[in-house]
Structures are given as structure tokens and as C-alpha cells.
């Protein structure tokens, strides 16, 4: 295959990997929104669960970071 074609494929793939970031943003939003909804229902329990919100956010966010990494690898390494 010609190098231009490979480069084009890599850039298209990098752009598609951006979808992953958006989807993980939805996940982080669900975590934060549900935390807020729960906190407003029972504010006295909110402080104790802040930790678990961050843990959930971290897990949701990690996959978005993976897709970012895939995009970076496709753009600069392949």
C-alpha cells in the first residue's frame, strides 16, 4: 500500500477514535448527574459518597483516555 493511503487511514482512524472521548464524556456525565440527584435527595449522605463518585468518574474516564491514546498513536506513531 502507498504511504499516503496508510497515512489517510491512520488519520481517519484517529478521528473515529475521537468518538470514544465523547461517549466516555456521557459516562462521566451520568456518574456526576446521578451523584447530584442522590445528593439532593439525601444531602446528609452526600459527603460520604463523594469518594465513590470520583472512583466511578475515574473508571468512566479511563476508557475515554484510552481512545485519546489510540488517536495519538495513530497520528504520531503509525
Amino acid at each position: 500500500m502507498s504511504p499516503e493511503l496508510i497515512k489517510m487511514g491512520a488519520y481517519i482512524g484517529a478521528g473515529l477514535a475521537g468518538i470514544g472521548s465523547g461517549v466516555s464524556a456521557i459516562g462521566v456525565g451520568i456518574v456526576a448527574g446521578n451523584y447530584l440527584a442522590g445528593a439532593l435527595r439525601n444531602p446528609s449522605a452526600a459527603a460520604g459518597q463523594l469518594t465513590w463518585m470520583f472512583v466511578g468518574m475515574a473508571f468512566a474516564e479511563a476508557l475515554g483516555i484510552f481512545s485519546f491514546l489510540v488517536a495519538i498513536l495513530l497520528m504520531f506513531v503509525v
Partner: protein, 249 residues
């Protein structure tokens, strides 16, 4: 694209800032070469030393500013280890505090302009994550022997389901060091690269005010991200430690 770069003076190399260069001449990097990576690692360690050894050395009854900050961080992490992992994990608290301080200072020091983002390299965060992973796994086997494998053989699930759950649990266990390290490195790298991209736009006169405002906003977000990622790195260590101390649930 090459023409556009030449005309507008727009050159985007967002990942160039993460390059490791020898500080004192030469181009080859050996294990003993002092690079910008080494320098900023050392500065991070010195900051930890300055805060916790020099500033808190007086052990005054009425603490000064430095000692106050040190005590704040100390009690914050102490409470975190106790709440997340449990009372019996407090012997491992010094390691977790050290981990937090190192990641915290490495993250925040990288926000100084022209500095070097130590934690944006998977080589650094990977070593930290593998250290946590190996020590937690060994600890689990030392504490519980073969009962540690209950983590993968879920006894609370119905018997046929355990065969399905075992490979899932195994994979999710072994992917831990990967996600643990790449989360921190990826977050730091992404934020710095975004700031660099906006800084590249600042050379174009028309959109430079927008890009300067965007840099300022991103910088504020990055301060938050640097602290939160240090917090998350530490709290995940606590969560993993909890799995090793109490594998049954």
C-alpha cells in the same frame, strides 16, 4: 496543509513538549544521563522533602503555614485510607501518603510554564502502578494464601455463573495496572497537549484573544485535574489494597 502552515506561521507540535532531552549536552540517553525528566523528578521529590521534613520539622503546637499544609494533607490521606480501606490498612498509610505527595507535586509542578510534565510519561506512572499492583497482589497472597483467589471465584454468585465471572474478574484484575497508569499519564498528556494546541492558535491574530482566554480556562481546569488525578491515583490504590486485605467482598 503544508502551505497553510507556511502562510499563517501556524505550527502545531503538541507532543514536542514531552520529549526527554539530556540536560548537559549530547543526544544519547543512557540510564545515568541527567535529562529534564530527571531534573523535574528531583524537584518533585525535593518539594515533598521541603514540605514534610523542613517545613513540618518544628512540630510546633501552633503550626505555621508550612506545617499546617503538611498536617492538612497528612490527615486528609489518613482519613481516606481509614475510610476506604479500613483500620487494618493503616500500616500501609506511609506508602500511600508518599505516593500521593509524589504524584501531587509531579502533577502541579508540570503546570509551571516551561517545566516538564513528569507524570505524562507512562514510564513513570507505569512504574508506580506496577509497584502498587505487585505489592498488593503479594500482600493478598501473604495475608490470605489461596483464599485470595476468592476474588476471582465469586462465592456469592450462583455456581454456574462463577465460571462466567472468573475470566471477567481475572481480566479486570490484570488490566488494573494498565488503566491505573494510563489514566494518570493520559490525563496529564491530554491537558498539556490541549493547552499547547491553543497556544499554537494564539499566533493567528484574529483568533488570538479567544485562544488566550481558552488557555486561561484550560489552565484553571488543569489545576483541578492535576489535584483530582493525584487524588484518584491514591484512592484507587486504596481500593486495590482493600481487595487484597478483604478479598471475600
Amino acid at each position: 496543509m503544508a502551505n497553510g502552515e507556511a502562510q499563517s506561521g501556524l505550527t502545531l507540535h503538541p507532543l514536542e513538549q514531552f520529549g526527554v532531552h539530556p540536560l548537559f549536552g549530547g543526544h544519547e540517553v543512557h540510564w545515568y544521563t541527567i535529562t529534564n525528566q530527571t531534573l523535574w523528578l528531583a524537584i518533585g521529590v525535593l518539594c515533598v522533602f521541603a514540605l514534610f521534613v523542613v517545613a513540618a520539622n518544628a512540630r510546633a503546637l501552633v503550626p505555621g503555614r508550612g506545617q499546617n499544609a503538611a498536617e492538612l494533607i497528612y490527615s486528609f490521606i489518613h482519613n481516606m485510607v481509614r475510610d476506604v480501606t479500613g483500620e487494618d490498612a493503616l500500616p500501609y498509610f506511609p506508602f500511600i501518603l508518599t505516593l500521593f505527595l509524589f504524584v501531587f507535586f509531579a502533577n502541579t509542578l508540570s503546570l509551571i510554564p516551561m517545566s516538564f510534565a513528569v507524570t505524562s510519561h507512562v514510564a513513570v506512572t507505569g512504574i508506580l502502578a506496577i509497584t502498587v499492583f505487585l505489592s498488593v497482589t503479594l500482600l493478598g497472597f501473604f495475608k490470605h494464601g489461596t483464599h485470595f483467589l476468592d476474588l476471582f471465584w465469586v462465592r456469592s454468585a450462583p455456581f454456574p455463573m462463577r465460571f462466567v465471572l472468573a475470566p471477567i474478574e481475572l481480566i479486570s484484575y490484570f488490566v488494573r495496572p494498565v488503566s491505573h497508569s494510563i489514566r494518570l499519564a493520559g490525563n496529564m498528556m491530554a491537558g498539556h497537549a490541549v493547552i499547547e494546541v491553543f497556544a499554537g492558535f494564539a499566533t493567528i491574530l484574529v483568533i488570538s484573544p479567544i485562544s488566550i482566554i481558552a488557555i486561561t480556562a484550560m489552565y484553571g481546569l488543569e489545576v483541578l485535574v492535576a489535584v483530582v488525578q493525584a487524588y484518584i491515583f491514591t484512592i484507587l490504590t486504596c481500593v486495590y489494597l482493600k481487595d487484597a486485605m478483604h478479598p471475600s467482598h
